[in-house]
């Protein structure tokens, strides 16, 4: 573009004013964004790391530099490790179930060509547009021992033996929170996988069918390998979103962290340290841990799933 202008105008003064205009336009478009981005995102992010090196015991913000001492305490904090283990449980369990179920439904819908396919897509995706708080509150009601539908369904089919206090019991609370997370996420990933499957040429399946390959074999030897790139991206995505989602779900569904901290996760622990204990420096040490942990986890899973891309 610049060379074209030069050829046309030739006159150095016109050229200079054009250049000035261009610079002015670039500045007008980027400077406000950069300033606000710095104030509300970069600065707080740097602050997370910075604050983790201080003892800040109240809102009055009396700071005392203590180096890495917060982290030393953190690594000996039994409650922190419990939150960490619970978070790992959510990452592994919710990811495994959501991925299996959404791949399964996506494959079913892609292979069978039902006329009501758009209906299922619309319905399954719906939970994803709801506020996580609504879903959390809704599931608290579902699990309610007196008026919840889970208990009353079990009563209706005479399976009283299966009834639990759900969110109030150590053995069930994590599974119950995980179920709510899966309920909300399946449709989203199903839609993504469906889009990936639509891109696989149909004749591949036709040839496979003629060769006598069953639907299951087709799924594992055609669909999965060709979808591998999309699946890889979603795994990294799962990890990050599970860490964040579990925060809201646990906070809404079990504000105290469940019976004996059985559903406490890293981010709820961080939030509690900050706003219940006014222990801001320590809270930010947890924040730094989550930041680095999710980054490393994403890198590892990216490495582990690396495979040659199969083109079609």
């Amino acid at each position: 573009m610049l060379t074209a202008n030069r050829a046309k105008s030739g006159n150095p003064r016109v050229l200079r004013s054009r250049k000035k205009q261009r610079a002015g336009f670039i500045a007008a478009c980027t400077v406000p964004t950069v300033i606000l981005f710095t104030v509300f995102m970069l600065y707080p992010t740097v602050n997370v790391f910075y604050m983790s090196l201080f003892r800040m015991s109240s809102l009055s913000l009396n700071k005392e530099f203590i180096g890495l001492q917060n982290f030393q305490i953190l690594f000996r904090d039994e409650k922190f490790w419990q939150a960490f283990r619970n978070n790992l449980f959510f990452i592994v369990f919710v990811t495994a179930v959501t991925m299996t179920v959404s791949l399964f439904f996506a494959a079913l819908l892609a292979q069978t060509e039902l006329i009501e396919k758009p209906f299922y897509r619309t319905v399954f995706f719906f939970p994803n547009v709801l506020s996580l708080v609504v879903i959390g509150v809704l599931f608290v009601q579902i699990y309610d021992p007196t008026m919840g539908i889970l208990t009353s369904t079990l009563k209706a089919v005479h399976s009283e033996g299966l009834i639990h206090a759900w969110l109030g019991e150590k053995s069930t609370v994590r599974w119950c929170v995980a179920a709510a997370m899966i309920w909300q996420a399946v449709g989203y990933y199903m839609v993504m996988y469906m889009a990936g499957m639509d891109g696989i040429p149909k004749d591949l399946y036709e040839v496979a069918s003629m060769e006598g390959m069953g639907k299951f074999r087709q799924f594992f030897s055609i669909t999965l390998p060709l979808m591998w790139e999309i699946i890889r991206v979603t795994i990294v995505f799962f990890i990050i979103s599970t860490i964040n989602m579990s925060f809201v779900f646990v906070k809404v569904m079990t504000p105290t962290g469940g019976p004996s901290g059985q559903s406490e996760v890293l981010l709820t622990y961080m939030y509690k340290q900050a706003f219940t204990n006014s222990n801001f420096g320590y809270a930010m040490a947890v924040g730094v841990f989550v930041f680095i942990f999710s980054f490393i986890l994403a890198l590892i899973s990216n490495k582990l799933t690396a495979k040659e891309v199969i083109e079609y």
Partner: protein, 293 residues
């Protein structure tokens, strides 16, 4: 031949049964929420699945008035609208320039915004909360600014919402702007259109599909946002999700289930209306690679 057909039909039937089962898993809790919101207090103590005898609208009255959900509704509407305006005004020019005007820092700028995709609101909310309070205390020292409220301010929070969604929005728009041929701008320039004129009269109208995607996704995240709102806002300024959570807390002591269920319906309805209007575009947007958590 007949056998093969039968086999195909029965296969489809089986698939339908499985799909309908999951449809029930998704829809039944929502249907249950809707009709339960019309139950009277005594009806709550009978079978949970039972339908209410009549439409008990008082639950809605309680949620809107006692639960203050009407005020929270307007707070939510205001913050969502303002944040949408902010995010569009900030992201569109920036994405346009970084994708089409190579300059000294354009690469570095794109990189920084990309890195922002990995920053979660969930941990920066604490430093933001502290900084806002600190700034508020600073302002309060001066008589002139005595009544200026920054820490508990819907417009400020809308701006923060917008900034938090900038990385994702710029990422999506940049991808789209790259696909527009340069000929359009050259032609506009020859016709005497300035840079701003080209952006607003040529590029923005062409980017309509991408803009719709951006507005939809951001609407959802602004309308549903909870952690920032519950941390930064005080009671009169709460948004709907915070108000709903509070209704649930109140319910534990007052056992007013009706108001809480009505509150759930009130939070769901605007999203449902929007979803019914744009659901095709929304699912398409995700297929296009609009990853979003």
């Amino acid at each position: 031949m007949k056998n093969a057909k039968l086999q195909k039909w029965s296969g489809k039937f089986l698939v339908r049964v499985v799909l309908l089962l999951f449809t029930a898993v998704v829809l039944l809790p929502i249907i249950w929420t809707f009709y339960t919101s019309f139950k009277t207090s005594s009806e709550f103590l009978t079978n949970a699945w039972a339908l209410p005898a009549g439409l008990h609208w008082d639950n809605y009255k309680n949620a809107l008035e006692k639960g203050n959900m009407l005020a929270y509704f307007w707070n939510s509407a205001y913050i969502t609208l303002i944040a949408l305006v902010f995010v569009v005004l900030l992201a569109v020019p920036t994405a346009y320039v970084t994708s089409r005007f190579p300059f000294k820092f354009s690469k570095g700028l794109s990189m920084i915004f990309m890195a922002g995709l990995f920053v979660s609101q969930n941990y920066i909310v604490i430093p933001i909360f502290l900084s806002l309070n600190k700034f508020q205390n600073f302002l309060n020292q001066y008589v002139l600014f005595q009544h200026v409220e920054i820490a508990n301010n819907l417009t400020v929070l809308a701006l923060i919402y917008a900034v938090c969604e900038l990385p994702f929005t710029i990422y999506l728009l940049t991808g789209f702007f790259r696909t527009i041929p340069h000929d359009y701008e050259d032609a506009a320039q020859i016709d005497g259109c300035g840079y701003f004129g080209t952006l607003f009269r040529i590029i923005v109208p062409m980017a309509k599909p991408a803009m719709i995607t951006v507005i939809m996704f951001n609407f959802m995240s602004f309308w549903n946002e909870y952690i920032m709102a519950t941390t930064i806002l005080k009671e009169q300024k709460w948004t709907l999700p915070v108000g709903l959570e509070n209704l649930m807390e109140q319910q534990k002591f007052a056992t007013d289930w009706g108001a809480m269920f009505a509150g759930m319906v009130l939070v769901m309805i605007p999203t449902m209306i929007l979803y019914s209007l744009v659901q095709n575009k929304l699912t398409e947007g995700i297929s296009m690679g609009g990853l979003k958590g």
